[in-house]
Symmetry: C2
C-alpha cells in the first residue's frame, strides 16, 4: 500500500498544481484510494485542496469529503467555497447518516439551498434525519435497514432483501437482518452469515435470535457506544417511541464516537478544549487554549493573595515558602489521580453516583497512605534545608492534610457533578488542579504558622 501520510506525496501534489500539469496529477490521484487522498488533502492549503477535488470523479470526491468529517475545520473551509449544485451532487453519493452529518455542519442558508436542489425523496429522508440531536442514536443512524418477517422462509427473505436493496440509491453492506412484526416492531435478529448458510426452506422464526438489544432514537451516543462495547455488537438497531424499527447505527460510526469522546476527555485534561490536532490557525488555537490558562491565572492570583496575608511570617521563616511549589504539585497530582479514576468509572458505569461513600473511603485511604509516605520524605527534606525539626514535622503534617483534602475533593466533586448532570470530565483538568492549589496552599500556611507539631507531640 502507498503510504500517503508521507509528506513527499503532498509536496508532489502541490508542485503538480503549481506547475499546471493536470494530466499528471490526475494519473497520480487515480493510483490512490479515497482514504489516501483525504490524508494528502489534510496537508494542503485550501487552494490546492479545491484543485485536487476538481480532479476527482463525483463518487471519489464524496468519499474523500466524508473521510474529512473528522477534521471539521478543514472540511468547513472547503465547503464554504463550493456551490449548492456541486455539494448536492456529492450528497447524493453519501450514505444517509454521512449526508445528514455533512449538511448539519453547514451554515443554515447553505444547507437550505442544498436541500432545495435535492430530489424530493432524498430531501425528505435527509430532513427527517436532521431533526435528531446530532449526538443521539437517531443522529448517528442510517435509515437504510433490512427487515424481514418471522413467518417467511430464508429463501423468501433473501428475495425480499434483494428487491429492497435494488430500490436503494446507494448499496450499503449490512451484517444483520431485523425480524419485525406487521407493525414494524422489532422482535428478533438474524445475522447475514446465518441467512447465507441456512437451508433455504428454514423458517426465519426458527433461525432468529429473539434476544434483541436495541436503542431508543434519543439515546445519547456515548450510551449507544457503551452498549455496543458491552455486547460486542457490530450494529445496533434504533427504535422509535412506538418500538418500531427506524434505523441502525454501525460500528464505524461508534468507533468515531469513541475517538471523539477520547479527544474531548483529553481536551479537558490537558486544557486544550475542542482544539483539533490538524488546526493550523494560531488565533483559533490560542482562543481554544486561553480559557484554561485564565483559570490558572486567577487561581495563581488568589494564591498570591493568600500568601500575602502571611507576608511577615514568611519573611521570618522563608523556608516555608520554598516548599509551596511542592505542596501545590502534590495536592494537584493526588486530586487528579482520584478524579481521573472516578471520572473514568462514571463514564463506563463501573462507578455509580450512589457509590459516593464507598469511593470516597477508598480514595481517602489511598490518599492517606501515599500522603503519609510523601510527608515523611518532606519532613526529611525540610529538616535538611531548615535544620528546624519542629518546622519539618509541622510541614509534614500540613502536607498530609493537604493531600487528604485533595483526595476528598478529587473523588467527591466528579460524583456530585454527575448527580447535577454536569459533565464530570470538567473536574479532571485545570479546574480541579487550580482549586486544589489554592486550598492546599492555604491549609499548608495556616498549619505551618499556627501550630508547632514538636511541642504538640512533646
Amino acid at each position: 500500500m502507498a503510504k500517503a501520510h508521507d509528506p513527499q506525496f503532498s509536496k508532489l501534489v502541490k508542485k503538480l498544481i503549481n506547475t499546471q500539469r493536470p494530466q499528471v496529477l490526475k494519473s497520480l490521484l487515480e493510483t490512490l484510494n479515497p482514504v489516501e487522498i483525504s490524508n494528502i488533502l489534510l496537508q494542503l492549503k485550501l487552494r490546492h485542496q479545491l484543485a485536487v477535488l476538481e480532479m476527482l470523479d463525483r463518487e471519489t470526491a464524496s468519499e474523500v469529503l466524508t473521510n474529512l468529517q473528522d477534521s471539521s475545520s478543514v472540511l468547513e473551509s472547503i465547503v464554504e467555497e463550493m456551490s449548492p449544485e456541486q455539494l448536492s451532487g456529492f450528497i447524493g453519493e453519501m450514505p444517509g447518516d454521512d449526508a445528514a452529518d455533512f449538511v448539519s455542519m453547514m451554515e443554515e442558508d447553505q444547507a437550505d439551498a442544498i436541500l432545495e436542489t435535492l430530489p424530493p425523496k432524498e430531501r425528505d429522508t435527509l430532513t427527517q434525519l436532521l431533526q435528531y440531536d446530532e449526538e443521539s442514536a437517531g443522529g448517528l443512524m442510517t435509515p437504510f435497514v433490512v427487515s424481514i418477517l418471522k413467518d417467511q422462509t430464508v429463501g423468501q427473505a433473501i428475495r425480499e432483501i434483494q428487491a429492497y436493496v435494488k430500490k436503494q440509491p446507494q448499496f450499503q453492506l449490512f451484517y444483520t437482518a431485523y425480524v419485525v412484526d406487521e407493525y414494524r416492531h422489532l422482535i428478533g435478529t438474524v445475522s447475514v452469515t446465518e441467512l447465507l448458510l441456512a437451508d433455504k426452506r428454514t423458517l426465519i422464526q426458527n433461525l432468529m435470535n429473539p434476544e434483541v438489544v436495541a436503542v431508543d432514537q434519543d439515546l445519547d451516543q456515548e450510551e449507544v457506544l457503551r452498549l455496543a462495547k458491552e455486547y460486542d455488537l457490530v450494529v445496533v438497531p434504533v427504535i422509535d417511541k412506538h418500538l418500531r424499527l427506524i434505523g441502525r447505527v454501525t460500528i464505524d460510526d461508534l468507533v468515531d464516537v469513541m475517538a471523539e469522546e477520547y479527544h474531548e476527555d483529553i481536551g479537558h485534561f490537558a486544557g486544550t478544549g475542542d482544539e483539533e490536532v490538524s488546526e493550523t490557525s494560531i488565533i483559533k488555537t490560542s482562543r481554544d487554549r486561553l480559557p484554561w490558562l485564565l483559570i490558572g491565572l486567577i487561581g495563581g492570583f488568589i494564591s498570591a493573595l493568600v500568601m500575602s496575608t502571611y507576608e511577615n511570617a514568611l519573611i521570618n521563616l522563608p523556608e516555608v515558602a520554598f516548599f509551596i511549589p511542592l505542596v501545590a504539585a502534590l495536592g494537584g497530582s493526588i486530586g487528579i489521580q482520584s478524579s481521573s479514576i472516578v471520572v473514568r468509572g462514571l463514564a463506563t458505569g463501573a462507578i455509580q453516583t450512589s457509590d459516593l461513600i464507598v469511593r470516597l473511603s477508598k480514595e481517602l485511604r489511598v490518599g492517606f497512605l501515599n500522603g503519609f509516605i510523601c510527608s515523611m520524605v518532606l519532613v526529611g527534606m525540610t529538616w535538611y534545608l531548615s535544620q528546624n525539626l519542629s518546622m519539618a514535622l509541622t510541614s509534614g503534617t500540613a502536607l498530609l492534610l493537604v493531600v487528604c483534602f485533595a483526595a476528598f475533593v478529587g473523588s467527591t466533586i466528579p460524583i456530585l457533578m454527575k448527580r447535577m448532570n454536569i459533565d464530570p470530565a470538567l473536574a479532571t483538568g485545570p479546574f480541579i488542579t487550580t482549586s486544589n492549589d489554592i486550598i492546599g496552599i492555604a491549609i499548608y500556611l495556616a498549619i505551618t504558622f499556627n501550630f508547632d507539631m514538636l511541642s504538640l507531640i512533646q
Copy 2:
C-alpha cells in the same frame, strides 16, 4: 433490558449465596445474559464470584470469563482458584483469540497444565497463537477465517463455507469471505452481504474486490486499529511473511484495543499508571500511583533548592514569592497543552517526527500569544499587590519567557522521544509538569532578581 449495573442486584446475589439458597440464585441467573452476569461479578468478592460461576453452565461461564478480560486483576484472582480441568473446559468453549488471551494471562505452570489437558488439535492451534506478541495483529487475531477461490461460483463457494463451518468446534459470525489463490495468498474480498444477494452462478472473481487491505502478523495492534479506523473496516485480514492468509482481527477486539490505549494514555496524563477503575486493593492502588507522586516530590525539592539560593532577595521582596505558584501553574499548563496535542498527533499519524520545526514554530507562536496575554494580566496583578511598576514589568517579562520555554519543551520532547522509540505519552503527565515547574521557577527568579525591566525600557 435488566439493568445489571444496579448495585441492588449484586446485593441480592450476595444474600442468596450467604443464606444458601442455590435454587433461587440459579433461577435469577438464568434471567440474565453473560454480559449482565459479568457486571454483577465485578461488584462481588472472590468467594461470591466463584459461587456464581459454579452455578452457570459451561458455555455461559466461559462467556462471562471472556467478558472479564477487560478487568484483568479480577479475572486473575478467579483463575488462580480454579483447577486445570475446569479451566480447559471453559477454554474449549472460547473463540481462538479469546482462548489465547485467557491462557497468556496465567502463570506459566498453570498454562502448561491446561494445555496438556486439551485435545491435540486445539492445543496446537492455541500454542501457535500464543507465539505471537500479545499486542500484535497475530496476538489479536482468530485463526477461524473463511476463504474461497476466485474461479468458484457463488453457489460452490457457499457450499464450501457450509462444510468448513460444520467442522469448526465453535461457530463464529463472519462478515467477509477472503478470496485466495492455490497457495493461500490473499487476492481479494467478498462481503457476506454480496454473497447472499448475488446470483448463485456468478463467478467469485466477478464479485470480488481486489483492493485488499491486510496486515502483517507482527504489526502492532495500535497500527491495526489505525488502519481499520481509516478504512472503516469491520474485520482486518492477517497475513504471514509469505503473504498467506492466516487469520482475521475483528472489530470488537479493536474496540477493546482502543479502550486500552485510551486507558493507558489517561493513566499517563493523570499519573495513575495501569490502575484499573475496578481495583479494590488499597495497597495495589497506592503502588500504582506512588511513583508519579515521587516525581513531583523530587521536583518540589529541587524547586525548594532553587528558591533557597535566592533566600535573601526573597526576604527583601517577598511579593516575588507570592507569584511562584502562578508561574509554575501557567508553565505547567502551557507545557501540557503543547505536549498533549503533539502526542495525540503522533499517535494518529497527523504529526510526523520529521515535522519538528513546523510544530515547534506553531506551538511557540501560540505560546507567545497566550503568554503575552497572561503576562499583561500578571503585570497588572503584581503592580496592584506590590505598588512597584518596575517589579511588575519584570515579572511579566519573566512569565513570558517561562511560557515560551514551556511551549518549546512541550512540543519538542514528545517528538524527540518518539524518534528514540520511547512512548511519547510519558511526556504528557507529571514528568513534563515537574520539569517545567523547576525550570520555570528558576527562569522567573533569575530574571526578576537580576534585571530591572523599567530601567531597561527607559
